[in-house]
């Protein structure tokens, strides 16, 4: 199984080329392509009619490259966590 790996802000992104048998086992796979894993957790993704990728949990940032999208998702999660912390500090 081929794995494309990248580290970003302390997180590990992997694109794992799924075995055909594994793909059919998943059943629910919405598009044929690699498994996206961030820090060991599988991340669901799909493709729009023009072929761009989106993530189920981050569905309004559309990219032609799944690795770029994973990096953008990590940046979004980082910003979100920072902003929530700011709000919590403000509300104390």
């Amino acid at each position: 199984m081929e794995v494309l790996r990248k580290e970003h802000r302390g997180h590990v992104v992997e694109l794992r080329e799924a075995e055909p048998a594994a793909m059919s086992k998943q059943g629910a796979a919405r598009a044929v392509g690699p498994e996206l894993v961030i820090d060991g957790q599988p991340i669901k993704w799909g493709r729009l009619p023009d072929g761009r990728y989106f993530l189920d949990e981050y569905a309004y940032d559309w990219r032609e490259n799944l690795m770029d999208l994973a990096v953008s998702f990590i940046d979004y999660q980082t910003r979100s966590a920072e902003r929530r912390q700011q709000r919590e500090r403000k509300s104390r």
């Binding site: 919405r30 598009a31 799909g46 493709r47 729009l48 009619p49 023009d50 761009r52 989106f54 189920d56 949990e57 981050y58 569905a59 309004y60 940032d61 559309w62 979004y76 910003r79 979100s80 902003r83 929530r84 709000r87």
Partner: protein
């Protein structure tokens, strides 16, 4: 004819009715059902296609009818995110959408990315063809508010956050406004199965042709009154 208006124009009675209606449709499973429908069809042409606007017009209308089972006079208000851009706006206050965040576990961020500007909205309104209008409306004006709110609203199951419907009501208003100023511009399919008489995902008996005239669906907007 029911009139949809800006959330800022709601009377306190209308606001309280809306909030109670939202709790009603959450408690009977409708909100989660709508979120599942949207998520299931996300990659099937409800986004990034010529069906984006008609599909969401039908979707918001169906949700509004569910709210009306709680009170017949409820209409979905709109959130103009090119104007109301602060996380301290009363939209997010305890009297309106604020408490849903914790109660429905929405994990809102309120502030990620930049919201669309009035100038971007006007540039989009000036587009002279449908195939130039909808893609820009979707990517430049529709997408950022989903990400600005964040959490559930940034996911494919975004109708799980009630602000989804206020946001899409505004997107629908922008389409209605554009249609009124471009009355003879035809609907152009972005691909096979995405034409004006092709069925909408989830509702095979409904097509874009059925929803082109919003007033025939029984509602108008405050700017028309």
């Amino acid at each position: 004819m029911a009139t949809r208006k800006n959330w800022r124009s709601l009377t306190s009675i209308e606001r309280d009715r809306l909030v109670a209606g939202l709790h009603h449709v959450k408690s009977n499973g409708i909100v989660d059902q709508f979120a599942r429908i949207h998520s299931a069809h996300f990659s099937h042409g409800i986004h990034r296609s010529s069906h984006f606007l008609p599909w969401h017009r039908e979707f918001v209308l169906r949700f509004e009818r569910e709210l009306q089972t709680h009170h017949a006079e409820i209409t979905v208000p709109y959130w103009d995110s090119s104007v109301d851009q602060s996380d301290s706006d009363p939209l997010w206050a305890p009297e309106l959408l604020g408490p849903f965040d914790a109660a429905w576990n929405l994990r809102r961020v309120l502030g990620d990315v930049t919201l669309p500007t009035p100038s971007q909205v006007q540039t989009n309104q000036d587009k002279t063809t449908y195939e130039a209008f909808w893609p820009e409306l979707e990517s430049v004006i529709h997408n950022p508010p989903h990400r600005w709110v964040g959490g559930v609203m940034a996911s494919a199951a975004s109708p799980g956050d009630p602000v989804f419907f206020l946001h899409h009501c505004w997107i629908d208003l922008l389409w209605a406004k554009w249609q009124l100023t471009h009355p003879d511009v035809p609907f152009v399919a972005s691909g096979p199965g995405l034409g004006v008489t092709d069925p909408l995902m989830e509702w095979p008996d409904r097509t874009p042709e059925d929803v082109l005239d919003h007033r025939q669906l029984g509602y108008d907007y405050d700017f028309e009154v």
